[in-house]
Symmetry: C3
Subunit: 411 residues, 3 copies
């Protein structure tokens, strides 16, 4: 993939001498990640904001063999997991952690996750991340769906919850730091789902941040490396627990319409964007949202605590990720007190339902699809209020339609 | 879990300076086990009985990456497998091995075991142990059973043979040696089955032994780390082959009732506790037993060879493990000549059958369940006779009821 | 297995002092393969043809932990994969690669292959090899088949595509080099599928070659290590893409009869042994062949490019591998442009179909079955023509019967 990277750099006008570059793990170079520290004093001594990157290997129990890349830009400390499809375990700012306390306490190596187990729910055995991608061949609820088999016939297979990508180890992972202002830090990787008689989908992902910033960006490019057309799905499952999530916390998003996923969610649609304290026995409530955008096509969504002193936001192009799902799962702390903000190419219904609804994009052979998201961590009412104002400006005077009955699913 | 350990120590009046402590592998400390030898001459030079502990990593074929802890107390040499849920591969005393010759010749790393394969029988791909725990979410025969899914509905999943715990690598494994008489040696570990929308069960296991003893103890504490109530199952599958098992060997246990598992076992209920020589084509015979206890609630069960010169015993509280299963599988040597003594919280029927019969315990949130067993290896007729007398004393004049027809299973 | 090796050597009259021997990975010796180079100048300084053997460990993505053995005999460079059941990734001669470009770009470690996924097609996630064995318990299409379970009853299990052997890591892998002319190089390994209540099948495989030769030999011995009779299946899936495969390339084999696998193959039976250029949307065509042999029982099959300048051949005893399958899969380059030459103990139908047709051999307890194949790489019309003449000599004036309708499958 060297040529691809080279291409991207050329396109953006950056030259090799202007950047620091370190390959962490690579199929092409036959290399795996070693413990490593890269710091501003060595690479960018002139940078105003010191930064630091730590690469480490995890040991013990089910985390044996997992590699982490921890990017500290001086404000945010972002923990990436190349071994789990380049997911993000957590982000910290000034002692505030954005992430959640999963009942799973290890960062689980894919070798210990059997996605087909539990009727296709085995994915949950490794679910701990702040940001976990769901895809690429499929995401959403497990269950049967059709596919074309080797002899060209339509056959049926059991799709597994949220697909494979989060349990595929990345390759061609590298760190790049611009040596000139604003000293941008990039962590890149490739994760693939490729096989004969199946998808040939490749994800090229870049996380970028700038020293001193309270934001970071993800740019993902999914490419169909096959010759023929291929469906794909992508959903960013962004999971937040305490301290942002709490009783009275609110999800703020400009939306045209709110539809409950099922009857249980329908009952509480009036409070769809408000949260309870940890509640033993709470059964998840899921809302399917139609997000609104500003004139540039961009939307902003925000989760803020009750007092409006802690918040986390995502900004992205609605055209790239037209469907937004809110997962409220405010059960007991011990069971996983969490909410999921989930921009996607689709809703997390079974793929067959989404296809029927026209929400499963198809890529022609060789064609790519890009998705960019900016994540922010906001501390203090001033910062949080500014983002809330952004959300409100997009909403304007368009009132969201609250639907009380779930949409019937076919099939 | 450090606080939990600390708590246990405080409770038993042991202080840190009185003990040697070595962490082997730990999620908390991000450490995996290295080759290591710990010996009495360094740690307890005053101990009358020399002892030795060896930690090693296995290589080659399907055992690649497995860690063993071999505790030699001067009399018994006990081989523990942290990588396989803290199971025990074998125990040796004076050249006599307690264990069996599985057709599986490697100590298989969980990465090579797909429990869902073969209609839920994939567990057998790694089955080699003397003591293997079956649980925690379920044990027994594979097959469909209901569970509560993420949206609060009752759904169905295919349970796999004997559950997951034997194929979960342990964490927080440490060796502790008391520096004072009787210089007790402890190997501790934590194994978990935790997930969102699933069990949050944690096993804290301790194996203890004393230099010079022909016995060792297991103390297991299963804790429901979830907030709500959760079923669990535990069955100690204790497997013995030659030289203890042979033609004319006998299983000696104080029992109230013997019920065959199926018609095939029913045919030979009269000889339920006697063994054949290796017999090509032998089809397993399983007996469900109601064990009797002494006044303290304790029972003793024994397997002894024909001459009564070799024996292995288990002593435990019947209240903790009320159901006892005897698995006779005296097929050809090449096919696995073995018998299983199986104290459990249940019989190894499908979980749905056991639930129906009221034999699936439920733990409230945060609640623990303890099980303690003492294993003995007995050489010479004097030692074996003493244990047999113990068994007979518990049986007394209570005659076991031998049932010839299996109990119908619902569902 | 040391005794077995010793036995073979004694049989062939080779003494230890006459050979160089290096264990690479071994369960018995608790050893895994390290990076290593062995070369003629150190081991056989008198050899006319220099040779070299490189052992390496792969890193990055899904190839993390895979071991390769690359045998360069001075003419052929053969890449073996002990971690994937001793398969052969590719063979190179004078810059010509014999192998194919799978959509899977890594040499995938078995830990990342879930054979039960995708309705039993998960095997495809790791399919990249030039020579991949399909077996041992089963091969062919996935689907339900009966087996005998632990209680002696006939039960049903879902077989997975092409069985397990390609995803089982080898043990007892060693390199042996004769120190005397012709300085034969051997790479040996054992791969097993052994379990309680299941197959106890063991494959002992040897790849041999001679410095300076354009051929290599595989000798495989499958042994039933169980006491009772056991079915087995073996199919050598030999996969070739560019540059040998191209528009106008031909498969040359002496055959009595050609039967299409399905209607799609039936349509083009007249051109069953001719190939198209990469064709987007091409649906595989499979032909079931009855190979002819010479007086010694040996057959020769050849794939050659259009100009007859590049070819690869297999010579073997038809009695050992009586059924030959030709898989034509000349889809787009990006989708995997490849053909498979597949000598086997059976055709790759579902095992139940093959059993019904009497094509599933059974081994009595302790009994072995040997299969030997010689692979050649041929460059230049002279070499290719010589092999073609061999094929034609076996065919003689016996005209192949071309059947146009597939054989109905029962069940």
């Amino acid at each position: 993939m060297r040529w691809l990277f080279a291409l991207l750099f050329t396109a953006s006008g950056v030259h090799a001498q202007d950047e620091f570059r370190q390959t962490l793990l690579s199929v092409a170079e036959n290399r795996s990640a070693q413990a490593l520290t890269i710091s501003s004093k060595d690479v960018t001594p002139n940078a105003a904001h010191p930064w630091n990157i730590e690469v480490k290997r995890l040991h013990g129990g089910k985390q044996e063999g997992v590699t982490l890349v921890i990017v500290d830009n001086g404000v945010l400390k972002i923990t990436l997991i190349p071994t789990r499809g380049m997911g993000i375990q957590e982000v910290r700012r000034a002692g505030v952690r954005i992430g959640w306390d999963s009942p799973v306490k290890e960062i689980v190596h894919p070798q210990f996750v059997n996605m087909t187990a539990r009727g296709g729910l085995g994915w949950l055995d490794g679910f701990t991340e702040f940001v976990v991608r769901c895809g690429l061949e499929n995401n959403g609820q497990p269950g049967p769906d059709r596919f074309i088999n080797n002899v060209g016939d339509e056959a049926s297979m059991d799709l597994t919850l949220h697909g494979k990508i989060a349990n595929q180890p990345a390759q061609e992972v590298e760190i790049v730091v611009d040596k000139k202002h604003p000293f941008r830090i990039t962590v890149r990787g490739i994760v693939n789902e490729r096989m004969l008689f199946g998808p040939k989908l490749e994800l090229m992902t870049e996380l970028t941040t700038t020293p001193g910033a309270a934001t970071f960006q993800i740019k993902d490019v999914v490419t169909n490396r096959g010759a023929g057309p291929e469906e794909f799905q992508m959903l960013y499952h962004v999971n937040v627990g305490k301290p942002v999530l709490e009783a009275g916390a609110r999800f703020e998003a400009p939306v045209a319409k709110v539809t409950p996923y099922n009857k249980n969610a329908g009952r509480d649609v009036a409070t769809w964007n408000q949260y309870l304290a940890p509640t033993t026995g709470y059964v998840e409530q899921v809302y399917l949202l139609e997000p609104l955008a500003n004139k540039e096509g961009r939307t902003t969504i925000l989760l803020a605590n009750q007092a409006g002193t802690h918040g986390t936001s995502i900004r992205y192009q609605v055209k790239e990720l037209p469907y937004l799902t809110l997962w409220k799962n405010t059960g007991a702390d011990a069971d996983g007190y969490v909410t999921g903000l989930e921009p996607g190419t689709n809703y997390p219904n079974r793929r067959s339902v989404e296809r029927q609804a026209g929400r499963v994009p198809k890529l022609a052979g060789g064609v790519s699809y890009s998705m960019s998201l900016e994540f922010g961590v906001h501390l203090g009412t001033k910062e949080v209020d500014a983002v809330r104002a952004e959300v409100q400006a997009i909403q304007g005077d368009r009132k969201p339609v609250l639907v009380t009955a779930p949409t019937p699913r076919i099939p």
